[in-house]
Point group: C2
Chain length 336, copies 2
Amino acid sequence: MPELRQDPATKQWVILATERAKRPHDFSRPPVQVSLPEYKNDCPFCPGNESMTPPETMAYRKGGAANGPGWWVRAFPNKFSALVPEGSLSRKEEEGMFRKMDGVGQHEVIVECPQHNQCIPLMADKQVEEIILSYRERYLALREDPRFKVIIIFKNHGPRAGTSLEHPHSQLVAMPIVPLTIRYRFEKAAGHFDDEGTCVYCDILREGLNLRTRLVLETDRFAAFHPFASRAPFETWIIPKAHNASFGSISMDEAKEFAYVLKKTLGKLYKGLNNPDYNYIVHTAPIKDEQEEYFHWHLQVLPRLVTPAGFELGTGMFINVALPEETAAFIRNVPD
Amino acid sequence: MPELRQDPATKQWVILATERAKRPHDFSRPPVQVSLPEYKNDCPFCPGNESMTPPETMAYRKGGAANGPGWWVRAFPNKFSALVPEGSLSRKEEEGMFRKMDGVGQHEVIVECPQHNQCIPLMADKQVEEIILSYRERYLALREDPRFKVIIIFKNHGPRAGTSLEHPHSQLVAMPIVPLTIRYRFEKAAGHFDDEGTCVYCDILREGLNLRTRLVLETDRFAAFHPFASRAPFETWIIPKAHNASFGSISMDEAKEFAYVLKKTLGKLYKGLNNPDYNYIVHTAPIKDEQEEYFHWHLQVLPRLVTPAGFELGTGMFINVALPEETAAFIRNVPD
């Protein structure tokens, strides 16, 4: 019997399609022998090729000049930015009933390491910490711009996740509006706070730690788990135990531990499923709401193992062919 | 300069990323020589293989027994149904704060023609009419079940659109709940009616016909156009000129003309872009709201030419790398 499950945070329903269910190991892809070079001379993200990118907004390097090699993490505006820092914020009515505005914002690439052929699960712990610190640094810098309403940090890994660039990188977009889906998630959390007097993410975390069936790993300050209403096989949330609405409030100690949990979590997917394509997204409060008590920042990993089709596009509702209890048990048992 | 555009119907913003814009013809894929057979003996949708599917709920055939060959359109429950007709509608609280319910519903496949290697753009007009009539017939049959709140009709064409089955088919899902995205679209239309006293889709249609820059084709009863805030390159809406909230209200004459417009519209995509993968979805009012004046049924075609990535998954907001004015002009000029 298929099951409908509701995400307590968004109130969205998901179909757990047990009739077409697959076992967790069915999602592992066949091992592929991809042997990437450590350096590619036509890769704009490789050291030495800095002139192929816009000037950097931030880099971690010991000495050496800006926009030259010697860095270990480097950020710069996306050459093909979805949004750009110039333009007006006014909403122009135009073409009759249709409303548009300039695409004002900032869209940055964060190159995660100098090596072309590296990936987070295989990096040194220290390097992953530096990536998280770069997220924090760019978040804190861009939040000072009064035009920006919310900052999205995300990563696309692999072609099925929408990237064709192999060199490991993340992206950050500072937005001049709050997208409806984000506002909606925020309002639902406020509604839960009104009804229950608690943060819905704190509640989800507490119940998840209590049940433990969907838990992947737990540290002093974080938990990683497969959510009750997982939208896709192996969807994973990493959530800090300390209640904070904004990723920008992450402390240095938290950042270090977050890096550890992220590396471990992605590492288990990497080993358990043979380096699947995935997206991850840092969900954080809009800038003006960073102090609200009802939101709670977290990271969502969405492996791209199945293709959303007409049903998902038409309804916004997902059909998931794997049970999170089973996928979490599988992933928990992947050795480090 | 990139541009943000708002869909007047949903209030969702879309980023028109002109910095990374492509020309319409860049989306055409290289011609591929796929030579599919007219019949495959292991295809459950081919005539003669009816025993490989659940018993039919409807078929158009001249004589001959149910569940045998001789049909030209045939519907039956999906063998791997996302939802099934048995079970309870009560929402079970369980595992503490988490809510779930039985996956009650009906999930049907509609095989569009006997030939394995056919597709809508190449079918006889009459055959496409029969497909639309089968949608109508199954919609009207399933709407009688008081457990069903909304009926979704959709089609997935090609692997990038989430199907691996070659034989042309559509799907229909009768749902025991109204998915949030559908409820939300409905509420936004009601809000427009409250503010303006008009149906937002009637307004969009009128303005589109007035401007004509994004129009693909127009008949007495329908218009096909690329929407102002297109979420993806070549997104196309087909909308009836007569205001009706429900697809179920389509008349025989309308059905015939709708079939013609659908065939033409898909045909232009087929020729202009070399048979792209796509999804289409019939957006229709929830069953209890079929008479509401503020919703207006329509069909949305979403070609799957680009892969949504972390930004889209995290924000629900799309980055579109093609201007609908340009794609519509390109498609208008594709010869029939």
